[in-house]
Structures are given as C-alpha cells and as structure tokens.
C-alpha cells in the first residue's frame, strides 16, 4: 500500500532527528560569564539568563564598587581602614568610617564566639610575617619578635564602641580584615547586581563565591578544586543565597628554608596554622562563611568541629595533608566527590568521630 510507505520513513527520520538531538545535548551557553580584576583578585560573575543583561555596565559598576571596598578595607595601604588603625593606636575617641564599622561590629561578635581564634586585631602579627605587601616574602619574624608580639596580644574587645564612636585601648592594635572582607564584598556585589536587575547570579571572588536566584529550574553546579592538585575534588550544587568559602594554606604565602609559610596565622602560636590544608564552609551568610573558614583553618584537625558548632556552621569540610577529608554530617549530602577520598564524618562533640566508608 503506497500510503504506508512514507509513514515508515517519516518515523525513521523523526527517530533519527531525536537521536541526533539527544546526543548533541551539549548545553548552549545559558549563562553569561564575566571575568575581571578587582578586590585584589580574579572576579568571576555568572549571570542567568544569558544574553539578556548589559555585561559591560555590570562589569564597570561591580568592579568600581569592589575597588572602593578594596581600598576602604585595605590592611596596609591608605584608606578608611588605614586611618582607623592610626586613630585606634592613638587611643583617642573618633567616629568610625561607615565602611569599616560593620566589619568591626561583626568581628567583635565573632571573636567572642571563637575564644579569640578569629582575631582581626592582630594586623601587626600578620605584617611581621611579611603579608602586608603585594607579593608576600620573608624573612619571618625571629623568636624574639614573636615573643614580643604575643606577650600582650590585642583583641577586638580592646576597641571600645559606643554607637559610631570608637576608642582603641591597645597601642599595638591593628585591624586586618583579610579573613572576612571577601564575605562582605561578595554580599554587597550581589545586592548591587540585584539593583542592576540581575536576579540570578554567582559572584566569585578569587574562588570564594555566593549565589543568588537559580538558573532556571536546576541548581547551580559548582566545581571544587582539589587543594592538593589541580583536578576537581568534588562538585556541589547550590540553591539561592548560598555561600561557599574556603581558607587554605595554598593561597598567599612563600617558602622559607623548606617550610611553607601561609597567611592564616594562628593567634595562639603566632605562626601559620598547621594540620589542615583547607577548610570549606557552606552557609547562607557569606560573612560568616568567610570568617568561619578562617577560624576552622586555625582550629586545626582536632578542634575544627567544635568551632564549627560554636559558630552555628552545619555544613563544613576540611582537607588534611594526607588527602583525606573530614565533613560535618550536614555537609555529607551536599558534596559529590569526583575522586576516591578517605572520608570521615566529624560531629561536634569533642572526642566523637564516626568513620564513614
């Protein structure tokens, strides 16, 4: 019957087209990516949907805003923070610059919760290790200098605060917000993007990032780089308003006589923290995520779960020098490892550690 012949070829062609469509499922770029230098690092913005927003305008507004923040909070160059440090050292009362006040408030709150492990008032100590310059170099402080720095360490509580008026009560107090500034910056950038009409985006500053909105009906796919290599350690799916921050020993630093000197200084020893290669925190408050990642790095392999709990962080993981990974129970379902890892789940009670297969 002639009428059934075209029938089968039509079906065959339809099936073939479907097959081709399925196999060439390479996603067309549905998001826009924008990369620029700001805040002292590589900033990478992912915007959804693609092809809709004025990327040039977004880049110029965001980079301008980030550069202002960078200058305001700069730990060693002249800016709002620099002036604040000078005035704090003088001991007189003054009005806090508006850009710096929120950071001081937040840091004071966190210092209490972390027993002083998180202490941005130790700028002098960080400077002594050579980190208050663009390219960090040695020599590291000698034992005598370290002793002097640790004899009477300044704390955030040494800043008296009454409303917007501040007074420093320790002559060596120098603020360095390196451990939390990015959290604030990323949050502000997302707000700025919202003002510019971008409701679904990722702001990534030097690898630390936060999301807002969603790319359509799926989740954001984030690749986590292996701190001990260059491959992908894991992938994490993020929803809206989730921040992922990592503090690691591979970021800023230098080699000195065979030892790796990195920029996360442990206030207790006065030296770079030891025991963890990286600490990662997932939280909906990017300021907390940033500060908590720094704190967990300092806390080290034994105590990090305790401080995670203290800070109200339920989703965190740390990487140890041998390549093994420890996670909080809340982090386990969020992470999809891409390579074989030795995994341990650590609950907050000290001394309790469950072994995960």
């Amino acid at each position: 019957m002639t009428r059934s012949h075209p029938h089968i070829w039509l079906r065959a062609v339809a099936a073939l087209l479907l097959l081709v469509a399925l196999t060439s499922c390479d996603r067309k770029p549905e998001t826009d990516r924008l990369t620029f230098q700001a805040f002292g690092t590589l900033v990478d913005i992912t915007v959804y949907p693609g092809g809709v927003h004025d990327l040039t305008r977004i880049e110029s507004e965001l980079s301008e805003d980030l550069e202002i923040m960078h200058a305001s909070w700069h730990a060693w160059e002249q800016g709002s923070l620099g002036r604040t440090n000078q005035l704090l050292a003088l001991g007189g009362e003054f009005s806090a610059p508006p850009s710096v006040l929120p950071l001081i408030e937040y840091a004071q709150e966190l210092e209490g919760r972390t027993d002083g492990l998180f202490n941005p008032a130790l700028g002098r100590l960080i400077a002594a290790w050579g980190f208050h310059q663009d390219e960090a170099t040695g020599p590291p402080p000698d034992a005598e200098r370290l002793e002097a720095l640790l004899a009477d360490p300044p704390r955030m509580s040494d800043i008296e605060r009454r409303g917007v008026r501040l007074r420093g009560r320790h002559p060596d107090l120098q603020l360095d917000f390196g451990g939390m500034g990015k959290g604030f910056a990323v949050a502000r950038s997302l707000d700025l993007l919202a003002d510019l009409g971008v409701e679904h985006a990722i702001v990534n500053a030097g690898g630390d990032l936060m999301t807002r909105g969603r790319p359509g009906d799926r989740a954001w796919r984030i690749g986590v780089r292996d701190p001990l290599g260059q491959g992908v350690l894991a992938s994490i799916e993020l929803g809206s308003d989730e921040a992922l921050f990592t503090s690691g020993d591979y970021e800023r630093g230098y080699e000195w006589e065979g030892e790796r000197i990195h920029h996360v200084i442990d206030p207790r020893s006065g030296r770079p923290s030891r025991g963890l290669v990286a600490a990662t925190v997932l939280h909906d408050d990017p300021r907390l995520a940033d500060a908590a990642a720094t704190t967990l790095m300092i806390a080290g392999p034994d105590d990090w779960p305790l401080y995670a709990q203290r800070l109200g962080v339920e989703k965190a993981l740390v990487v140890l020098p041998d390549g093994s990974v420890e996670l909080t129970p809340g982090m386990v379902p969020r992470v999809e490892f891409r390579r074989e890892v030795i995994r341990r789940i650590r609950a907050a009670e000290p001394g309790v550690g469950a072994i995960a297969p």
Binding site: M1, S4, H7, I8, R11
Partner: protein, 180 residues
C-alpha cells in the same frame, strides 16, 4: 476475526501462564551479570501482541510480572518495580510500532525497540529512585548493549515461533484488518 471473549480470555490466561513459567525458570538460571536476563518471557509478550493485540499483550505482561513475583516472593520489592517499569516501557514503545507489523517490521523490528525501551525504563527508575548515584550512568552503555542483544535474540525466537503455521493463522495484519 475471533471475537469470542471467553476464548480470548482463555488464550490470555494460557499465554500468561506460559510467560510466568518462563520468567520463573529464567530467574533460576544464573546470569553472568546480575539482573541481565535474556528475557525469554518477552517472546510471549510479542507473540501475544502480534496475535491478540496490544491490550491482550498488556494483560499478559501485567499478569506475568505480578504472577512471577508472587511465585518468586518478590512482590513490591525494588526488583518488582523495576520489572514492571521495564515491561510497561516496552509496551509503550510497541504500541505505535505494532501497526508496522508485519509489512514493514518483522518480530525483530518489534523486539529490539522493546528491549531498548525496557532497559532504558528500568535504568531511569533505578537512577531516579533506587540508586541516585552520580556515576550510575556509566553502567548505561553496557546495559543498552545487553538490551540490544537481548532484543535481537528475542526477536529471532519470536520470529521462529510466529513462523509456525499454527500461529501464522492468528497473526493480525492491520492493512487487511483480519488474521490469516
């Protein structure tokens, strides 16, 4: 065309019994890869499809899946749901293809898509509900290959069964709308 409902029911029952028997026997045969079976019972489904129509094939298949699982003690287990999903997926694909038989497709042309659909349906259920492991899709290519081979084998077996003159009488030809 024989439209006697009682006779049709008896045929369905007989075919279902045969299919259940085959499935149970097959369950006892060890397979090199667990879960991959030649699917001998699918031959019955296809023969039913071609001689008694799609609805009868649906009935036989459902009876087979439930009946075999009752006998094997796997009712409502994950294996049961996998079996059911695979069978329904195969039938879904067979529905639009049936009119092309026997003019444009032989039993082989029905069996292969049915087997692929069966494998895909089972895999999707497994991945979505039972084992949502991110690396599970790596198993799909060999599973599809096994499905293809199974389809070819089943198709050849079905074609042999259908070639028997006693069965030929009942094969429906949609263009003439009568068997024979």
């Amino acid at each position: 065309m024989n439209t006697d409902p009682v006779l049709a029911d008896r045929r369905i029952a007989a075919l279902a019994a045969l299919a259940i028997g085959l499935q149970v026997i097959e369950a006892a045969i060890p397979s090199p890869v667990p879960g991959i079976k030649p699917g001998l019972a699918n031959v019955i489904t296809l023969v039913t499809l071609v001689t008694l129509g799609w609805r009868a094939a649906l009935a036989v298949t459902l009876l087979r899946v439930v009946g075999a699982s009752l006998l094997l003690g796997t009712l409502l287990s994950p294996g049961f749901w996998l079996s059911l999903t695979g069978a329904l997926a195969a039938l879904a694909v067979l529905a639009p293809l049936l009119p092309l038989h026997p003019r444009h497709l032989s039993a082989l042309g029905l069996a292969v898509p049915a087997a692929i659909a069966h494998t895909l349906g089972q895999f999707l259920l497994a991945w979505a509900v039972i084992i949502p492991h991110p690396q599970l899709p790596l198993l799909l290519p060999p599973l599809l290959l096994a499905g293809l081979i199974t389809g070819v084998v089943t198709g050849i077996l079905t074609a042999s069964v259908l070639a028997d003159p006693r069965i030929q009488r009942h094969v429906r030809d949609p263009s003439t709308n009568q068997s024979g």
